[in-house]
Symmetry: C2
Subunit: 278 residues, 2 copies
Amino acid sequence: MEMISQNKVFDGWHKQYEHDSAVLNCRMRFAIYLPPKAAQGAEVPVLYWLSGLTCTDENFMQKAGAQRIAAELGIAIVAPDTSPRGDNVADEDRYDLGKGAGFYVNATQEPWSKHYHMYDYVVKELPELIEATFPVSSKKAIAGHSMGGHGALTIALKNPGMFTSVSAFSPITNPINCPWGQTAFTTYLGNDRELWKQHDSCELIAAAGDVRTPALVDQGEADNFLVEQLKPEALEAVVAETGYPLTLRLHSGYDHSYYFISSFIEEHLRFHAENLGA
Amino acid sequence: MEMISQNKVFDGWHKQYEHDSAVLNCRMRFAIYLPPKAAQGAEVPVLYWLSGLTCTDENFMQKAGAQRIAAELGIAIVAPDTSPRGDNVADEDRYDLGKGAGFYVNATQEPWSKHYHMYDYVVKELPELIEATFPVSSKKAIAGHSMGGHGALTIALKNPGMFTSVSAFSPITNPINCPWGQTAFTTYLGNDRELWKQHDSCELIAAAGDVRTPALVDQGEADNFLVEQLKPEALEAVVAETGYPLTLRLHSGYDHSYYFISSFIEEHLRFHAENLGA
């Protein structure tokens, strides 16, 4: 593992690392923010942040303004990349498939199955690496945006007990019923819709049973992708049906950008801090 | 003038506009953040933010995290581009001359003098446009980073009474004595060093006389450009000599990036708010 950059931010440190990922079969980059408390010897909990289509580890770290609050609360933040990377990695000449669009699943279809295992990377390899390397505790929360909101919700729902809490901005709530999700799932997982359902937040909440990881979702009402891709009404319906502890908030005038995320990230961090006991 | 984007941020609005600049003789883009108070009919004061080499109107708006505090304080922020733009505008194949590197002077040398009048753009054309278009008062402050820190300090010093206060992150304090400044001034202004001195913060403070615009400067001690280009010790010396009301703060571990700016922008906005009476 190699540190490739570091910047002091709010008395803590933002650092970028590269490492060889066995799960993804390529060289990967991630970013971590270590709050000042971590430098003082404390084992801090970790919030994993999953970004959306076209993003890397950098978007959230540069644009969300999260470090101020993470520093105050004593929470580390880890931001992985959004897909495997490198010249040998399969790709398509479009923004919603291939590099930058891993969709947080394990691909079963050729040629994608050689590298596209973002689910295992986020659930297993990355947290093991983080907990073996940095002064963090095993307490974890997870959050994300758009495709990464889908990733955060599905990963938390599929791994009860792993995360104290989950939150999302503008998540793809029902990928089996929207173009982004259908394209990605057909490409990465093939035509078996039963397999698709295992990566659909609405389906997972409907089948959650005793799983009760607290969840917070924020959605802008001026989001260009609201109706066709994000479908908060599907999430609202299944939450109403099941009584799942998910708070869905709609925000008038806000769009799909990091300007929206920056406006409400503080509330997400405080929500996670409360659940993490940070 | 044409609005090309808008995003709701902290209950206010970030907007990008394009307009034909008579001073720069080209189409220009700028960004404005209007705090919620402006939508309620109040005339808010304006902080002008001048960015550094290679930047556009976007860097500060996306990375500094300033909107949260501007919303609270009721201050608008205007971020111009850093040079004239367009296919007809003279350029060099380097990051520190030409497009993205206007240095906030009025070029006197060919071919630059046709477009490179960033000084007049920031001092005259842009504020006139802003005050004629938006619900802002005539109260103004100015701030900037690196090349833009140089721009903010020199413009405030050369226009006493125009700005209530000035602040800078990592400014090029003494351009007549550093490679960035010498290259830019030779190229844009020619070889007359007396003319250069009219755009050098240290020289202007030495000659400030009764000018007493309050100033705040933050500089990271881990800044890669500290010794060769930025020279805070030159600023410190002239402030000590003259008693100019400038507070210079050095910050251990911080670098030249927006991670540094985001860590201290709140204090700059509160400094300006106090002087603006916001």
